[in-house]
Symmetry: D3
Subunit: 257 residues, 6 copies
């Protein structure tokens, strides 16, 4: 089975640099796969991406050695199983708030006897190799999102669930859950403290903590704070930020001339 | 009929700031339509975009007041007519090298008696208004590309063809045609001179000259040189440039820490 | 944030004229958006429409000022959240039968603290404006369907749930639930009575009642009966009705000649 | 090989009632296939339909006994051959203006020795039967459009070309070619006369004349005038006409109440 | 309503020969529909097929008399209802483990009063006939999958649920559930015994048992053992098996020459 | 630039084993890419494949080291340039009958100064490497089809054109051109002789000859006859052959039991 190189990065004490795909296009996915990320996560929750186009995006990523991940829209066995069958090498699952939800998440993603994943790795076996089903339970990454007050409270029991490989912080949802504004509230006391508490708890459990960030600068800071999986913005934000910057620069130059 | 605002910009002596769409997605097109461009051109020649997805991109652009243009892959009546029927408000046509080709281009895009465009503005009439066919011959922009030695030589006769509204320089093709490297050869003497000669000739004919540029900085320089329609890079280049810049910044910061 | 004009229509005492989209095409959606409806509802339950094409249909509707709505296939947080993120300005949700289901429906569609909608209005923020998340809880319309005997019984408690903006009657399901034939049973006593009871209860709660109708004639009657949101047939029914009428007319004329 | 029933209708002295498909959807195509038409023509010229979706529309039509036709965007061998390979049982080809163009059209559509169609009926052999290539030259309908002054003048020589099975009048293009307005000019003298002259010439050659009409009423009149293949409007026009009629009826009723 | 011919095969004591579709393409589906199967099942669980392309595959199958079935990804009302509305004449539902799940499955697929299926057979009524809703409850096949230890234990109570028309064995999942390897463990004692027990129990209840097999040879053996619905491999397995066999044969011949 | 391994196979005196893709699906393309072929050719002429899905198929092939080729529908600059920009590493071009057509074919595929290919390798540069444009003229394979009597006569002059890397025989078209039946006429004298003559002429020019074959057996024979590029059947033929064989085997076994 093709190795999941993210485990190696963590084993060597490194941090994973992850990219985020919200544009429903195998071409933009392939462009992103050439920019130096360790992994790319297809966002099927908030991204404009559903299963059928996600498959072509997984194929596009597979033209490189970048590890393909997917965020599913919900802790839902059919959605989890189907994107794993398509060759995702890990899944980020939103709104895991307690042990029972974490266990259900793991169960849906592991073949028996560890879980109840149904057998049929239709594309995964091509991406990964003919021995996929023998190693999938050990190679695939299962990453719950910690983004509610309930999840914060239950973080220890979530991290105790066997099969949880990392956690992922959605800062906007976390901020809203804590009464702050999404995105802007990242420096609010309770949010900053929560992010710190998550990484500390993860460290105690020996589980890498991950987080979404708006930029390399914040990503670096998060790594300094102990996070070991950082996402930098997303394809649509790169596109809009760069386009707006260029147009603004030109219009300003023209106005000033 | 909905006004083609690019004509107004030129009438007021301004320069059009154009964006370029190579990613086959109506979502990325809509993102680009909110970044401040005057117009967006769907590249059906070198972009990863064919007719069916181009229609959804035209619709996405039409959610804003940005003017939708298309570059066709060839000076070919069915391709020209079909994208105009879909609501493009102008077409850039590659490889127009002489008067005959310019005339054929115009003929395919104008309704009788000015040309031989076939009647059937299936989506254009919704985008533009019920009186589309009465005004289309005057509103739509016909923009040949000047990108070969032959075209340079014949520029006067091309600009003499009634119905040619502007010209567009493809600097890479022009550079290769003049024996320079694509993209990098923009400062080679013959290429620089050719670009100057084109804009001068256009000025003499009172026809706006357009050009593809890699950045706001070059775009500004081109406008200073007299160009009145400038494209800044493209969606895929914005995406790759910003993604690579962020990843590189983070990796450097991590290496240095 | 772009205004939800349906609220204004109701505030002025008017009735919303809604169209229904079952054909999976952004072109037919755009055609429908030019026919005078106040809103168009993409039917993701019984229509031949899944998420990815629904996004292009939302874009097509957004080329006009018509308000885009969606009927989801189920009271299911990921489906509700994902179509709202795509820019639907309201959702009709089938099979809401009691207070708990109504509360779950509202919770999935409201940002904290009113609910648990996850943050990520990927396309909605372009359609609506950068302040989308500040106003979404107040602007978006949440419309449960009343179509079972259980729902009829629990209508008062459903209408008591904060955040329910209107209700929608599916007459076929309601008829079958009451032991009548779908569609044809609309004049059966119990169905007629149920429809009357719904509108009366809604009026008591000050909540607009909506209903699906087969024609302008029935729609008018429903409005006379107090309904304030009426759907006329659907795109596929308009298509088949008009096509069949024309073919029949021609064949009859030819037979008679 | 499956029989081309249109030939039988003509052999029995009847007129073919044809429908027109401009919406890019296999579902709307299937709806249209159940409304009583003898044949359905997928419009790849002015319709919003390119090859890939046209294949699914051909399949949708093939769920019934309705004969599938296609209008190609141009007299162009690759486009003609490819849609025939996909199972179209006839092609309407725009802008055939003289004998040479008619001969080129026929040549592209006939297998050797009658023409130079390349062998590869990839889907046609499933639709039609394993002996497709033995009968295709005789069964498929080749229908040039007569829509310019030049074509009118050369109609006799066009009809003399072996393999031309019928002709098709595009009234809008014909009207524009004769200096009238598209669509509305149908009662202008020169247009009316041209339409009469076409049907008379066809009758002399024993070739059925076809024409696009806006309604059953005009279709009936055209049949009375000798036309034997009539198209009634199109799917998008049925949709917009019926939707607009219903909305208008409701709004009028509400205004009047 | 179009007859479900599978019921007739069973009534005559025969076995249904079923094909399996995992490739997301209406063309490959149409190819498969011409190879002699009684029915074809679109695999929406492990196949690379989601709803929108499944509709075009149902249309492709409907160009023949082969009966279209679908395997849904989960026992989930919206998924079940939506694929039935699209014209599937039966559904295979994974992971039905007890009476309650079987009852929920049936309830989602039957119109009132037998169940709670919502009314809206948008495409089914074209495929099946205008009286679809009157007969659907009797014609459509509801086939739970038996693939866990729990289901084995509860098989009697599952078969007691009114509306269960057949059962389907997923041998890989069953093998894993019993501690064997997927696919290869088919000759392990417990798996062989379980398959025998299932068919015996089904026979006692007068319900046909179905099973997935890798080849005609195993399928024949299963029929000899009493199974009356057999799937032979799948489209992707036919494709890979034949391609690999041909390439290997050629390479061996070249090596040996 | 990524190496075109087919040149290496020929340099070592070997024969290329090529697969053929007619099914419009990136999944079936990926399946085919794992079966041991040296190259895979996407058939955009007779296959059910147009540009947009072809791009996803090129991506699917690029997940392996198999070399991606495309057959274009026509000797047409925009089609040739666009599929090369998408990353095809060679093109097969139908109906090249003389020197002028061969020269036009080469010209469209080579950057200046060797030809007039327009610059914009949008996806090719990701597949191949950043130095794509420096090496493309030397790496990409240009393969005209020899399939008419005229081409046979002009074979020497076609092979004299600089830039022609191989030729490809379409046996069905060739057979029809010589008055035989497509496919079955392969043993007719004139066809057999023509195939021999082609390979002999190619050998004289030192240019590899290629041919389409129905099976490994015929492919082996062709290689024995001197062909050095052989296609074995196609994806749709593998699928139909294997499916039909299995169904027939089962039905025979059941009939005999």
């Amino acid at each position: 089975m093709r190795e999941n190189t993210l485990r190696g990065i963590w084993a060597r004490g490194g941090a994973v640099v992850n990219g985020w795909l919200s544009i429903p296009s195998s071409f933009s996915a392939e462009v992103m796969a050439h920019q130096g990320f360790d992994s790319l996560c297809i966002d099927m929750q908030h991204g404009v991406v559903d299963y059928q186009v996600a498959v072509t995006m997984l194929q596009a990523i597979s033209t490189t050695s970048v590890i393909p991940l997917a965020r599913v829209p919900w802790n839902d066995p059919p959605r989890l199983m189907k994107i794993l069958d398509a060759g995702a090498y890990g899944v980020i699952c939103p709104m895991i708030n307690n042990r029972a939800q974490a266990e259900a998440f793991v169960r849906a993603c592991k073949y028996p006897p560890s879980g109840s994943r149904s057998f049929g790795p239709i594309r995964a076996k091509y991406y990964s190799g003919a021995d996929y089903h023998e190693h999938a339970n050990h190679e695939l990454l299962l990453i719950p999102q910690i983004e509610t007050a309930e999840a914060l409270e239950n973080l220890d029991e979530i991290l105790d669930v066997p099969g949880i490989d990392a956690v992922y912080v959605g800062p906007s949802d976390l901020a809203m859950a804590l009464g702050s504004q999404p995105r802007l509230g990242q420096n609010d006391g309770p949010v900053v403290e929560a992010k710190k508490r998550i990484v500390d708890t993860c460290n105690r459990h020996g589980v890498p903590a991950g987080i979404h960030t708006p930029s390399a600068e914040v990503a670096q800071k998060m790594i300094a704070d102990g996070y070991r999986f950082v996402t930098i913005a997303s394809d649509d934000r790169f596109l809009s930020a760069k386009a707006a910057a260029e147009v603004t620069a030109l219009r300003r130059a023209l106005d000033g001339s």
